[in-house]
């Protein structure tokens, strides 16, 4: 741990000198409120399992499962993220300045995930209560089986958006290539406009809530329908 350099602004951890395990262990028992991480070079599992109200800045691209299971911490990635960004986040905030690969925010229970660029396929799959704001487009099958939480897409959505949705709600500013089974467009209400305004503000995107459409579950898959003859 000799290469940890403390400064007035916090701690700098350089993955060129430290192992991933050393960096994650330091983040699990933080002595500073702010930590900067250098040279991630696409490594997996960086800044996972944090549970303290610290800010973490990662300078560069990260690999699989970055900031997974996050609680309380605010993690900013100045680069792109691999698959499973902020998967199973419980609280706090994760932001990626570039693009995020598949399954960003998968199964996240709480907190806010902000993706400045595009998100690939299956963004917010099985979402369980977190909020996701995507500055660009989302790929196909986004919000698949999403159970709770809100997803704001400032760009376009791919195929099968919101397939088999439960109670999560999706707001899309651009084009929707196709809706998934049981997902439907619904009118925006005053509370929807308030939600979108609040989330855009938190994510610092300068769009009007008036530009967004609401997608939610038609709830036709909630109960077995004998007349459907399994033709779902």
């Amino acid at each position: 741990m000799e290469s940890l350099t403390e400064s007035l602004t916090g701690l700098t951890l350089d993955l060129a000198d430290l192992s991933l395990r050393e960096v994650n262990q330091t983040l699990h028992q933080p002595t500073q409120n702010h930590v900067q991480i250098l040279n991630p070079n696409g490594c997996h599992n960086l800044a996972v399992g944090l549970d303290a109200p610290i800010t973490v800045e990662i300078d560069g691209h990260v690999g699989y499962y970055a900031a997974g299971m996050n609680q309380q911490a605010s993690v900013t990635i100045r680069g792109n993220a691999g698959p499973g960004l902020a998967e199973n986040m419980m609280s706090g905030r994760v932001q990626v300045k570039g693009f995020a690969s598949v399954s960003a925010g998968a199964s996240a229970h709480g907190g806010l995930l902000v993706i400045d660029g595009d998100a690939s396929l299956r963004c917010g799959i099985s979402l369980k209560g977190a909020d996701i704001v995507v500055g660009g487009n989302v790929g196909s099958f986004s919000a698949f089986m999403a159970q709770a939480g809100r997803i704001v897409v400032c760009g376009d959505a791919g195929d099968a958006l919101g397939d088999s949705l439960y109670e999560a709600v999706i707001y899309v500013r651009g084009q929707i290539k196709s809706l998934g089974a049981d997902a439907q467009l619904e009118p925006m209400t005053a509370s929807d406009y308030a939600v979108v305004t609040e989330l855009l503000s938190k994510a610092e995107f300068d769009y009007s809530a008036q530009e967004f459409k609401r997608v939610a579950s038609a709830k036709q898959l909630y109960h077995w329908n004998i007349d459907a003859q399994q033709d779902y």
Partner: protein, 298 residues
């Protein structure tokens, strides 16, 4: 899980660096594919009817010196053989059918890895670092290459099952994923006289695409047909004498990242295999979109 890497050098003066830039890429994908590795490198084309034949002798110690004598007695003096341990590249003005028949009869233990005017192919079981050392990949020069690290999921771990697969001349393919209808593809191709060397799913994709191109499709048209005919999960990276091509299936379960600068196009399953490349921080970095055909020309 498997790892794929590809590299195309745009500026001729940098083509001496092909191997040195690639070695950390391939080794970087070792965790994704620890059981086998392989590489196809494309060099400038041989003139006329001369062709390169990549040969593999397996585990046995092979007397390449004796082989070159026998070759010369049979086919004349105008041929060369460059050997490294269990691998050799034969360069000769001999038709592929003739050399295949002769090898089968006189040296049935030798395995013909590739044929073409610009392709050299290496593959074996073992990890990527071992292969890089054994075959001196660091020193490779050329225009472009395609590499693979394998974690077998649906067929045996043998040198023949390692990637890249080849079919025809100057064509190879590596695959991350698994095809679900490769038996069907096989049944479609075998009546056309197309012979398979393994029971591997990737070989079916490789032979399907090469068959389409032999039937007159260009690479892009063949790949478009592949989207409808090949079922399963895949990121395919292919090399021809003057192109690298990349496609991902509609579900994009298998990753790929592209980094492009004025000097090179580099492709890998993950960014960690690209992080060492020169000027990577100024590169245009993107994830290829599902069911879109990406082709880069030398």
């Amino acid at each position: 899980m498997c790892g794929i890497v590809g590299l195309l050098i745009k500026k001729p003066e940098l083509r001496e660096s092909l191997g040195a830039w690639m070695v950390p890429m391939l080794i970087g994908m070792s965790e994704r594919g620890p059981d086998s590795a392989g590489l196809a490198v494309f060099t400038s084309q041989l003139a006329g009817e001369r062709r390169k034949y990549s040969l593999y002798s397996g585990q046995a110690i092979f007397d390449w010196g004796e082989l070159i004598q026998v070759f010369r007695q049979r086919f004349g003096m105008n041929l060369t053989l460059e050997a490294q341990e269990n691998h050799a590249v034969l360069t000769a003005e001999i038709a592929p059918a003739e050399i295949k028949a002769w090898l089968k009869q006189s040296h049935p233990t030798l395995y013909l890895l590739s044929v073409g005017r610009s392709i050299d192919l290496y593959k074996d079981t073992g990890n990527a670092a071992e292969l890089c050392n054994r075959y001196s990949f660091q020193a490779l020069k050329g225009t472009h290459l395609v590499g693979h690290t394998r974690m077998a999921t649906e067929s045996a771990v043998t040198p023949a099952h390692a990637h890249p697969f080849t079919a025809g001349e100057d064509f190879c393919l590596v695959h991350n994923g698994a095809l679900s209808n490769h038996h069907q593809i096989r049944r479609q191709l075998e009546p056309q006289g197309i012979q398979f060397e393994t029971d591997n799913d990737t070989e079916a994709a490789c032979r399907f695409l090469e068959w389409r191109m032999r039937e007159g499709d260009d690479l892009e048209t063949a790949l478009q047909k592949g989207f409808t005919e090949l079922d399963g999960f895949y990121t395919f990276l292919m090399g021809t004498d003057d192109k690298l091509a990349l496609v991902r299936d509609a579900f994009a379960c298998k990753p790929a990242v592209v980094a492009e600068t004025d000097d090179y196009v580099a492709i890998a399953s993950e960014f960690r295999s690209l992080a060492h490349l020169p000027n990577i921080h100024d590169a245009s970095i993107y994830e290829p979109v599902p069911e879109e055909i990406y082709v880069w020309k030398v």
